[in-house]
């Protein structure tokens, strides 16, 4: 039996196309992936991301305990700030990539991937280190309002002054009379907000945002556009670009690994890996031959398999084929070339700087 978010009935009533995603019955598209993608890049889109989970660490030892299982450093951010990072195993393999919202040193909300809800909670409870760890995933609805006009739409629906809420900051306040966590975070590369509210109020919040965003041409969006938007930014997707068998260093996430912060699970393994050198790296590439790279396609050099594509699509914004792939370090430098095997044909590819897409100046 697939799981459903509090917004399920809304999606079905709105004739969204539903698909199974990691055991969740979710909308893959409303108006069409290309149209939704373009609307988020130029105006504003609304996503139901209530399938994401929330695990909360509370108590005097909350920050210290969570920091012991988190690769980034929660002592470097202030209350009301969010931070991206990984939770790792002893061997450095990624349990999940998460965003932590620091409400206070004694109250931190961890937003986890839908597919990892149960695994993460088990892991966090096992390594609670004296913190009170609670799985609140079913208690929260989460909506993502994303795009250059997101602040304009939200500003009309709340008394909260949004201007001090810079990127990766958040506050609590009412949106259309509904108590929310209002966070300036997202997975699209555009300005925007993620709103967390009580599950039962999710449909009402959705309706108010859809209605309130009409002057800006707001568009409900599905997971299809969410995926193409994140890939243009080279944001990693757990389960596709990384998993328990890859480390943050291999996945190009060294910037969220603070090896000098003190001990945390996975640190020793990553220090060893760093000293020994990596055997593969995740890179962004564009295809210079026709075709579209897809998850699981082989990366070839001189006709031999040397790596694997983990994500790929036709970039709706750039009109070129883009992807992420694990390759040996000598092939990871910008400008390196290799081939991607597409239905038996070797299609030429070139490593490029990421993100693929640069946000337009406001």
């Amino acid at each position: 039996m697939p799981q459903r978010t509090p917004l399920y009935d809304v999606h079905v009533r709105s004739a969204a196309r539903m698909v199974d995603f990691a055991g969740w019955e979710m909308p893959v598209q409303y108006a069409g992936i290309l149209e939704e993608h373009e609307t988020v890049r130029s105006r504003v889109g609304l996503f139901d991301v209530s399938h994401m989970g929330e695990v909360v660490f509370r108590g005097p030892k909350a920050l210290e305990s969570l920091n012991r299982i988190f690769t980034n450093d929660l002592s470097r951010i202030v209350d009301g700030q969010a931070q991206y990072g990984c939770v790792c195993r002893e061997d450095g393999g990624i349990v999940d990539d998460v965003v932590v919202y620091r409400r206070s040193a004694q109250d931190l909300l961890v937003c986890v991937n839908a597919s990892n809800r149960a695994k993460d909670f088990d892991w966090m409870r096992q390594h609670a280190g004296g913190a009170d760890v609670k799985n609140e995933s079913d208690e929260w609805a989460q909506l993502a309002l994303q795009g250059p006009l997101a602040a304009k739409v939200l500003g009309r629906l709340t008394r909260v002054d949004l201007s001090p809420i810079r990127s990766y900051r958040f506050t609590e306040g009412e949106v259309a009379g509904i108590p929310c966590i209002i966070a300036r975070t997202g997975y699209t590369g555009e300005d925007g907000f993620e709103l967390f509210c009580r599950s039962e109020r999710g449909p009402e919040l959705w309706a108010k945002l859809v209605e309130g965003g009409k002057p800006e041409g707001i568009q409900p969006c599905g997971l299809g556009a969410r995926d193409s938007l994140r890939l243009e930014m080279a944001f990693r997707l757990y389960g596709s670009d990384m998993d328990d068998g890859t480390t943050p260093l291999e996945a190009g996430l060294a910037w969220v690994v603070k090896l000098d912060k003190g001990d945390f699970i996975g640190r020793q393994a990553m220090e060893r890996q760093k000293a020994a050198g990596l055997s593969r790296k995740l890179v962004g590439f564009v295809l210079t031959d026709p075709g579209i790279p897809r998850h699981g396609y082989d990366v070839l050099q001189d006709g031999k398999k040397v790596g694997t594509v983990t994500s790929g699509t036709r970039s709706p914004s750039l009109k070129i084929s883009i992807g992420l792939a694990y390759v040996p370090p000598p092939l990871a430098a910008e400008g390196s070339t290799f081939a991607v095997e597409i239905r038996g044909r070797a299609a030429a590819a070139k490593v490029v700087k990421t993100p693929f897409y640069a946000r337009k100046a406001p």
């Binding site: 598209q29 036709r314 239905r343």
Partner: protein, 129 residues
């Protein structure tokens, strides 16, 4: 949904329009709707042989790759090359501008095994249940 009466259909959601020995082949309105925005097409070369029920090309949407199967056996005598630069034509006009290949049929009788419009409409209705 529109399934023109003058066409024949496969259970893989291709259509063909028969003109003498020739079959013009494309995918149905239902197929393009299910695929979503088509962003890439790969078609055979002129002179290639295609076989009934076997894949002769692919269409790709933002999210997925789908093979296209030939409704008939024969030789490819025309290819709709402009689709390479404007694959969205298949979404916009699947039965006319969005045609894919023309096949010189080796055994035109094969066409009789295909579904007619009513039969295909029924098949789609069942698939949607």
């Amino acid at each position: 949904m529109n399934f023109p009466e003058d066409l024949k259909y496969t259970r893989d959601h291709e259509w063909c329009r028969v003109k003498g020995n020739r079959a013009i082949v494309g995918i149905t309105e239902y197929a393009q709707d299910q695929l979503g925005d088509i962003v890439y097409v790969e078609l055979p070369d002129l002179g290639d042989q295609v076989k009934k029920g076997e894949a002769f090309g692919v269409v790709e949407s933002t999210k997925a790759v789908s093979e296209i199967f030939s409704p008939v056996t024969g030789k490819v005598v025309e290819v709709n090359d402009p689709l390479a630069d404007s694959p969205e034509t298949i979404n916009e006009d699947p039965y006319e501008e969005g045609w894919m290949i023309q096949v010189e049929m080796a055994s035109p009788k094969e066409v009789q095994e295909l579904l007619d419009s009513a039969g295909y409409a029924k098949f789609v209705a069942e698939e949607q249940e």
